[in-house]
């Protein structure tokens, strides 16, 4: 019964939608890649029929949109067929990016929560800090990232941390926004109860505000971890784009290797999906422990 429903509830729906997307993708591949074939043929002076174009669009070297099987082949080739320590292995690069993501996400989460706590508890911080936290987010990170990295380098911080800090920079914001809301979500009567016990702010925090903010926290965490990954990838550019998925994307883009871009993109997306799903599981587990009515 369990197994059956796993198939029916998980594989089937995802599979169906996937299949649909795949079909659309193939169709798009034909349409987006056909003009190039037509041009080549035109330049060569040999007219070409649609049925001749069709198979060609599936195997271009630099397609506008690579066909799914090309991407799959590339991913297979760069994950399974290469030792994971190799610089040509996508797993290796994914790991580099993942480590920066996780570090950045960790710091970002802690920082975001601390800021939210400060904002909720200290009115001076609420009034003065929040506008500037917002303003900080409107600074295009790619523009100042090099400066940050240069400065950090100058004070002797190099390696994983500068990249992670860029993840942090992007990921702390959803956490601040969500947690400020979440920490303020307890009902008046629940706060009053704490008030009557003359609970200290830290007790009110741990016994009321914190548990009450859980739905907001986990929602924010999902967004934050996804953005962290984006941040880590962005952060790989100004650190010299030496390794990591960002470097792969860039190199792919630089040399017009669409297939490589797409496979790196898929790796990044798969990584993100996995991370978000892990956070989702944690969410469910915490909710169950908190006795939420199913």
């Amino acid at each position: 019964m369990e197994k059956q429903s796993f198939f029916r509830d998980r594989i089937m729906p995802v599979g169906t939608i996937l299949l649909g997307l795949l079909v659309i993708w193939y169709i798009a591949t034909v349409f987006l890649n056909a003009p190039f074939e037509r041009d080549t043929a035109a330049r060569a002076g040999t007219p070409i029929s649609f049925s001749e174009i069709l198979p060609k669009t599936m195997f271009q070297e630099r397609p506008v949109l690579p066909a799914p099987h090309q991407v799959v082949a590339e991913i297979w080739d760069t994950t399974v067929n290469k030792p994971i320590t190799s610089k040509r292995s996508l797993v290796y690069h994914a790991w580099i990016t993942l480590s920066a993501t996780l570090l950045g996400f960790g710091i970002g989460t802690v920082l975001g929560i601390l800021l939210a706590v400060g904002i909720v508890h200290n009115r001076a911080m609420d009034r003065s800090l929040m506008p500037w936290v917002i303003a900080s987010q409107t600074i295009p990170i790619l523009a100042i990232a090099p400066m940050i990295i240069v400065v950090l380098n100058a004070v002797g911080i190099a390696g994983l941390l500068p990249k992670a800090l860029i993840s942090t920079y992007l990921s702390f914001f959803p956490i601040v926004v969500g947690m400020v809301k979440g920490l303020r979500s307890p009902e008046q009567i629940q706060l009053d109860l704490m008030h009557t016990y003359y609970a200290s702010p830290s007790q009110t925090f741990w016994k009321l505000r914190w548990p009450a903010s859980m739905p907001y926290l986990f929602t924010s965490l999902k967004v934050a971890i996804a953005i962290s990954l984006v941040g880590a990838i962005v952060g790989e550019l100004p650190t010299g784009a030496i390794s990591g998925l960002g470097a792969r994307l860039l190199a792919g883009s630089y040399y017009g290797q669409t297939v490589q871009i797409w496979s790196a993109l898929f790796m990044a997306a798969a990584l993100a999906a996995t991370l978000v799903i892990i956070v989702g599981f944690a969410h469910t587990a915490v909710l169950r422990r908190m006795g939420v009515k199913p």
């Binding site: 400066m147 240069v150 100058a154 017009g256």
Partner: protein, 307 residues
Amino acid sequence: ADKVVLQLKWVTQAQFAGYYVAKDKGFYEEEGLDVEIKPGGPDIAPPQVIAGGGADVVVDWMPSALATREKGVPLVNIAQPFKSSGMMLTCLKESGVATPADFKGKTLGVWFFGNEYPFLSWMSQLGLKTDGGPDGVTVLKQGFNVDPLIQKQAACISTMTYNEYWQVIDAGIKPEDLVTFKYEDQGVATLEDGLYVLEDKLKDPAFKEKMVKFVRASMKGWKYAEANQDEAADIVLENDATGAQTEAHQKRMMGEIAKLTAGSNGALDEADYKRTVASLMKGGSDPVITKEPEGAFTHEITDAALK
């Protein structure tokens, strides 16, 4: 060993083969140097890195270096391994461009980030406005690849002889379908990959000494690379941490790069310098530099290194 940090202008590729060869072949080590090579990327400005203390010496193009100098970061050229410029404008024949006179009304792809200066001074020489008006050209900021040409979003795009041009060819477009304009031929070429350091650091004799050794070893690397192109390309591939470069492409690039470095022993040719400065000062309404730079290069290092 003395530590030297070198900041490249772009990602690891045969364009910087000399340095990788020097490191790999132990030329630096022989001089008692421990050289760290930092690859660049799309938004790494080497001048910023050196101003922030992140590098001792940087590879940069002269327009950008001179502009930086005017902004108060006194960069000095200590060596010029690249004799000639590899930049050109590559156009599709079918878009109707045959001579510079045909540019009017066309869309042209240009790299920015400091690389646009030669283009702008060329256009001002041609008397073409770059604001997209009908009697000028429309300028696109082109990304890092040649897609705009292939997709016909632009009539012409910027390419380097050693890199992007071949990507266009790889994309299945025949050389005879293309028209190219080398900046070198148009008389607007500016000096490309040179080595730059901060002026005040040169006052320190120990640093100077280090640079002399560095330039000497680097030039040895360049000459070795010119002579052993396949091996040099392999060394570059070895050092590419992205694992995205292909052997064929790097070998070809090495071949083209060798043509550019061929004429140089490392010393800056003053005539080239003058031409570059002149071209930059002309830059139309928005000149790159406003006054004749002074002390922007020195022969001291190369003189000592090439003794």
